[in-house]
Symmetry: none
Subunit: 355 residues, 2 copies
């Protein structure tokens, strides 16, 4: 297995070869995801459960808060199966859940579940209830003070309809990101998404402050993670943002905050890792979003795909469904720098989907 | 894969089974290597770049300070490809560069490059500029104070024409090492080497002090590493000298210093590991050199060779070209005690040379 350097050099990732990472899942729920047809990251009517099911499967290979693992309407299983498969072959130093406003907690013992007293947020076309500055400060504080047990840190996310809020946030912040954002669908429901984003932007119009804009357009994960990134930057520990365009949006928010506050930001210990499916996605522009940053960032994509799999359901990933989430891209890069064999990984993943 | 115990018992190496090592590359440049035909460890006219290219390839699998990896005039690739292949299969805890007077630093981020304010040295048949006692003390201090991240330490070298300076040093110190030293050539250019050594020994004749002798006959690596070995000996951490006759010369220098200073030296946490090619070399006598030591030492050689490879270029190693360097022998022993499969390793190495 290997990876591709999208931005920067291979040095960052190569310096982590063989090392173990702590894995954090930022889990959040925005009622934006309740809008019919906006996301396929989970079961209809139960999308708010997706982050919880993802984490349960990641930790114990079974879902407890529902009968089945999260699948899309067309039956595509969550990328959590990829991250879980990697974990069984080269275990993460820890698996930790950041509760950024889920409605229900994972039913697990012995796995850290961090509570930040953050509630789920309302849809971004309504008066959201997000206290963005408070959430940002909680992320900042956690990033500054928390000591992870791994040699470096992987920060992933699971937020249904998160690409829509990520897109809305970046537009609200004034970035030119039209047509640059991804979707868990192969054929993104652009009309539904665009309408929601437009409505959110109208509500943002009179807001001046970054945090007020974020409160109206973003989800809790985006805001908390921006704080986490800034909090971690004071440490001599490497951090990988595990995700596609949502994590790229976290970086744009960091970028805006850094500019606004006129502070220096050192991104040398920071990178972003995603999947091949996201990198190759013709309907979004991951690298294009990252190029809007005023600081330079190391970006990598795994080269793993399901070309060598006989599973029809998994091959849907190669066709552009699901693409990324639950840190799948970073987990695949983790596999690449830890000498995991592709065949072995494939076998594990196929086993999870019963093939 | 396995290894052979040349001196001592297998206990030292067996006690390290499954553990991770930090890997240090002592890199130095002596203008002795500019003498036409003396070394084939690198590209003609650019031999001073060899240690830098070796380290770049080891860390990121590409060379940045030149277009191609260091090859001998007959096209034999550097042993760095062997060490890199091992690293990708069982990563070292860290890869660190000890700048003992290279003309150019490796172009890398995120990999420690230790600066000791040591300049490259002139050819040993001229007035060398080495301040041997100062370099020795820097090695001693680093060995005493530096905390490596691995469970034990591998100290390797990359010094073009280093076997010649190693030979000269041992003769200057009064050891009977005629015909015991190796060369990166299959057919060693004995005339050129012997002339240079004789000229250095003439300049050494009136010198009494060990460090003065070393200053005239050695290279920076030999002197620094002797200090490092003595500095480390006060620690409860195992150290493997990774190399052939050059590292054996480091031990003879340690031996002379210990005798001269009349101090006790405990070598129980120390071993030396080399390749099969060096051990089997008919033109040198690795074990013979080690037998001149007044203390006993554990010595091992990997049993790996390219017999099962279809690569003609790699088979040159089996014929006696290149033989050792960049810690290849110790890396192969590391592979042996970490359950790396020979076929897998071979495949990696062949991939690097495009076969």
């Amino acid at each position: 297995m290997t990876y591709k350097t999208l931005l920067g050099t291979s040095d960052f990732l190569e310096s982590l070869r063989g090392k173990t990472a702590s894995f954090y899942l930022s889990a959040s729920y925005t009622q934006s995801s309740d809008i019919e047809g906006i996301s396929q990251a989970g079961l209809k009517g139960l999308l708010h459960l997706t982050p919880v099911l993802d984490f349960e499967f990641l930790c114990v290979q079974e879902v407890r808060s529902l009968e089945n693992i999260a699948v899309t309407p067309s039956g595509i299983p969550t990328p959590a199966i990829i991250t879980r498969a990697v974990h069984t072959l080269k275990a993460f130093a820890s698996l930790e859940f950041l509760d950024l406003g889920v409605k229900k907690l994972p039913q697990l013992e012995h796995f850290p579940i961090h509570n930040f007293d953050i509630s789920f947020s309302h849809a971004i076309n309504t008066k959201t209830t997000i206290n963005a500055f408070d959430i940002f400060q909680k992320g900042l504080e956690f990033g500054k003070t928390h000591e992870s047990s791994g040699e470096y840190t992987i920060l992933a996310e699971s937020v249904p309809s998160g690409t829509t809020t990520a897109n809305a946030l970046c537009l609200a912040l004034g970035y030119e990101v039209e047509n640059k954002f991804s979707s868990s669908f192969k054929n993104a429901p652009n009309k539904i998404k665009d309408t929601l984003i437009k409505e959110a932007l109208v509500l943002c119009e009179k807001k001046v402050d970054i945090f007020e804009k974020a409160a109206q357009s973003a989800d809790n994960m985006l805001i908390f993670n921006a704080g986490f990134v800034l909090g971690q930057s004071s440490k001599n520990k490497k951090l990988i943002l595990a995700g596609g365009t949502q994590m790229a949006a976290v970086l744009l928010l960091v970028n805006s905050i850094v500019k606004e506050m006129n502070v220096k930001f050192d991104a040398s210990n920071l990178a972003i890792c995603t999947t091949k499916w996201l990198e190759k996605d013709e309907n979004s522009d991951f690298v294009g979003i990252l190029k809007l940053l005023d600081f330079s960032i190391n970006a990598y994509a795994s080269t793993f795909d399901f070309q060598n799999s006989s599973s029809k359901i998994l091959k849907k990933y190669d066709e552009g469904e699901a693409k990324e989430g639950v840190g799948a891209g970073a987990a695949l890069c983790y596999a690449a720098i830890n000498n995991i064999k592709e065949e072995e990984l494939l076998e594990k993943i196929q086993h999870f989907v019963g093939e």
